[in-house]
Symmetry: C2
Subunit: 364 residues, 2 copies
């Protein structure tokens, strides 16, 4: 799936050799990468994520592009070193490393991030494969999963058994490209809030349900999305998503996890989880389970109406159009934890078992 | 240190029995708790945290207090049940549980949170001991530590070895009251950013330095602070704090970790880490290590000046007054990751070893 380290180094060498040869022939070298915007994506269920349409932008070396051209090449060199030494750098560190580049140094981090995005798109990899890790951590895991990592000093395999952490959890590292998995779980349950995860983990819900619990902590980080994706792909596991019943849960958390986002379309293929399914809280659940609700704010209603009108994902699925329209009519939202109205462990004894059995109650 | 579960149940029984007896005698029952505000705290190095001065507020049962009175008693009952069944509820869940209290139900969560704060202060415990856990998770741990937890189903001890997580980490649960520890580490290193933690964890820095690494992820959560405090107390370990060199790192992250905050003074004694010491980034480090900087914003300068003038912690320590005054003069701040200017692993090969040896370079 992911490009191997060797082939990224090869790509970097190839691109820079082309630049070098052009210069030697006294011709202007060029660097080109896919155009990154919503106007350059489409959604198709078979692919399962927002795909690039193929528009590219090219940058020739001229007097006005000389600095960003140099920066791009220097950052590619840095990436090559990171891969070769099996090291990592955050986006922020990459920015600071440039402070030793004399006139080519970045003056603000957004400049440095934009160059990183360009290289990512140019090489068609995700930046974690280039050695650049996000600042934020991944999710938390509990349940029937053994993660296989490597000790940096000895090179030996380390097996991490996620059934053995009591009320705690395994915290996913910022970069997950090197991890391997062993599991006999039947599915992955991706949970929005740390509080709900804590309840399910403390009560060993994964044992009864034979599953892997993942705490996303709001919109999942890159590391968390990539972890779920790799685990689901390699172990052929279905992914069920359990969020609050609100526009943020539907269109930010779930939609981003499943198909990705518009402004990062060149990397969606690595980060989306196309087989994810939404088990709740659905607008229908709010009525059926008589959940305590909160009124939708104007901005929520606008967000939903925008989604129905403009989001290629919502436009693709009638079920989501219907559910979102229902929510706008009901004018209310409900949280995962609202299930506590029926008893704090009702979510484990009744709600989840019932929902998991009834695939008709899910959303695609 | 912490009140035992048994004695919390006893306190709840005692308070409610008093209320019951007063009512039986046809007298108005009262509930009293410490006044929670900066005007009711003092700082003293021996105690090590913001302490209550002893002002209390009393609430008698009258026509206008009948609802909040009932809510307080009902929530105490809920806490008693949680403790008796070894269960947990988040603040949010507690709010939803009240939806079954008929007329005594809360209409907004802030009401429910305020009642919880009152009970916490009344019983002089932290709410985790009452069975109420925070929504947010604790910190991440890597290094020379074995955490001892209990399996909820079997009641058996589980030993979690934090040297065995590879590039991942042990994620601290929302409530840590029941955890025990084994360690032969020499100190705890509490780190502001997930990115810096990831670098130190990936390179097994804890092995060379013989320490325990803790990622706070910004201002540490209650669970993270309580974890560090309990670990430091029980294993007599020094705590070194490593944050960005900016007002937020000094006065929000470090000061909150070490002495607590003004508006939660009744629980500081459980959450503060009085023996914490600040190893960097100090304003002096910015000059000595020639770090890349960012200009201080007006709001940062105001925050620092306010701190010098009004914060009992800063007023107590001349060293902090001097350091903050220096920063205002320099008009710049620097991040942990700015050390990457000297090479991405300079922080491990040079900065931390040098700083850890030189206690004169620390701040109290």
């Amino acid at each position: 799936m992911a490009k191997k380290s060797r082939s990224i180094i090869d790509s970097i060498k190839e691109i820079s050799t082309n630049v070098y040869n052009k210069i030697m022939k006294k011709k202007a070298p060029e660097l080109s990468s896919p155009l990154r915007s919503l106007s350059n994506v489409k959604y198709d269920e078979k692919a399962g994520y927002f795909e690039l349409l193929g528009k590219t932008k090219s940058r020739s070396l001229t007097a006005s592009t000389v600095k960003s051209f140099a920066q791009t090449l220097l950052m590619m060199k840095e990436s090559k070193n990171l891969i070769a030494t099996n090291d990592i750098a955050t986006k922020r560190e990459m920015y600071y490393i440039s402070k030793n580049w004399a006139d080519a140094r970045f003056s603000e981090q957004p400049e440095s991030d934009a160059v990183m995005d360009d290289i990512e798109a140019m090489l068609e990899v995700n930046r974690e494969q280039m050695g650049f890790i996000p600042e934020e951590k991944g999710g938390d895991i509990a349940g029937k999963l053994i993660v296989i990592d490597v000790d940096q000093d000895t090179g030996k395999e380390i097996k991490i058994d996620c059934t053995k952490f009591g009320s705690g959890a395994y915290s996913v590292p910022s970069s997950v490209e090197h991890l391997k998995f062993e599991t006999d779980a039947k599915f992955i349950l991706a949970i929005e809030t740390a509080g709900m995860f804590q309840r399910l983990a403390k009560h060993n819900y994964w044992k009864k349900a034979n599953c892997i619990l993942i705490s996303m902590g709001g919109v999942p980080s890159r590391a968390c999305r990539r972890f779920i994706r790799r685990l689901a792909d390699e172990k052929k596991l279905p992914v069920y998503v359990f969020t609050d019943g609100d526009p943020y849960g539907f269109l930010n958390i779930y939609r981003t996890l499943k198909v990705g986002s518009g402004n990062a379309a060149h990397i969606n293929k690595y980060f989306c989880v196309p087989n994810a399914q939404f088990i709740g809280i659905t607008p229908k659940d709010i009525t059926e389970y008589k959940l305590p609700t909160h009124p939708l704010k104007e901005v929520d209603i606008k967000r939903v109406k925008d989604g129905i009108k403009n989001d290629p994902f919502v436009q693709y699925y009638k079920e989501w159009q219907k559910a979102l329209t229902e929510m706008v009519k009901m004018k209310v939202r409900a949280e995962q934890q609202a299930l506590a109205k029926h008893g704090i462990n009702y979510v484990m004894t009744d709600y989840l078992p019932k929902k998991l059995k009834d695939s008709k109650s899910w959303l695609p």
